[in-house]
């Protein structure tokens, strides 16, 4: 059951990602990315990360993708305004060939890790909101505060960048 779910979700994640980088229309590309994001959310659920599953759907599919789609519609990017990319697929092929040895190296490094028989957690309530919150507010308190300052900086920065210049 888990295996077939993993296969379906990973297939959709890969298809969404391939569609995202290869489709011509920006809008189709963004909608294809939604498929990929939702499949990755499902994979989080398979990995016992129930809170991250929700966060992925709310933050990525709910906020970031909607913001991208809104921006594409707001700037009114049509097919004829999109940049011409005549040698897109040859470049992709070259980059893919270059990346194969790198991926092989990382994969080999991971396969040297000690093998565990059943890939399942024994801890009760692993990955739910309570356990994550307890960890976050005890051992990870300082990074959490730094992240909140980062979000504030991003808020102010976006307002500064996107407003119109008053003078000139």
């Amino acid at each position: 059951m888990i295996d077939s779910l993993f296969l379906i979700l990973s297939l959709f994640a890969l298809l969404g990602a391939i569609g995202m980088i290869s489709l011509e229309n920006t809008m189709h590309s963004a909608l294809s990315f939604v498929v990929s994001i939702m499949s990755i959310a499902g994979l989080y659920a398979l990995l016992n990360a129930s809170f991250l599953f929700m966060v992925q759907i709310i933050v990525y599919a709910g906020a970031i993708i909607v913001l991208i789609l809104f921006m594409i519609m707001f700037l009114n990017i049509r097919q004829e305004h999109a940049p011409k990319e005549p040698n897109k697929f040859p470049t992709m092929l070259v980059v893919a060939i270059v990346l194969i040895p790198v991926n092989y190296l990382i994969f080999e490094a991971f396969s040297k890790m000690p093998h565990i028989e059943d890939f399942s957690v024994k801890i009760d309530g692993f990955g739910d909101i309570k356990m994550l919150g307890v960890e976050l507010f005890n051992r990870w308190l300082l990074p959490f505060e730094a992240i909140s300052i980062l979000l504030l900086v991003a808020l102010i920065g976006s307002v500064v960048l996107a407003r119109k210049k008053e003078r000139e």
């Binding site: 295996d3 990602a17 990525y60 305004h81 565990i116």
Partner: protein
Amino acid sequence: MIEASFMSYIALALVLFSLGIIGLISRKNIFIIYMSLELMLNAINLMLVTLSKYFGSMDGQIIAMMVIAIAASEAVIFLSLIVAMYRLKKSVNIDDFDTLKQKGTL
């Protein structure tokens, strides 16, 4: 039959990350470059969550949540920069965004 083991998740994350790099290098549309960046962040998140399950510790999931927060703030800054550049150049082609190379138009 492929089983949902540790290595299959790692392989999936590696392939997704590579697809992100491929999109980042080969496309010229700034939106698709941005989505490729997001795909790479997602692949790294998937790897972190997998390692979190492998080691039975919550640290990977907490780092993944911080990566999501950073991705959200990155989205805000990136999209407002796209709007600012679009106002200036009326284009989403990254080849037009070379104002730092020439004498200032900004």
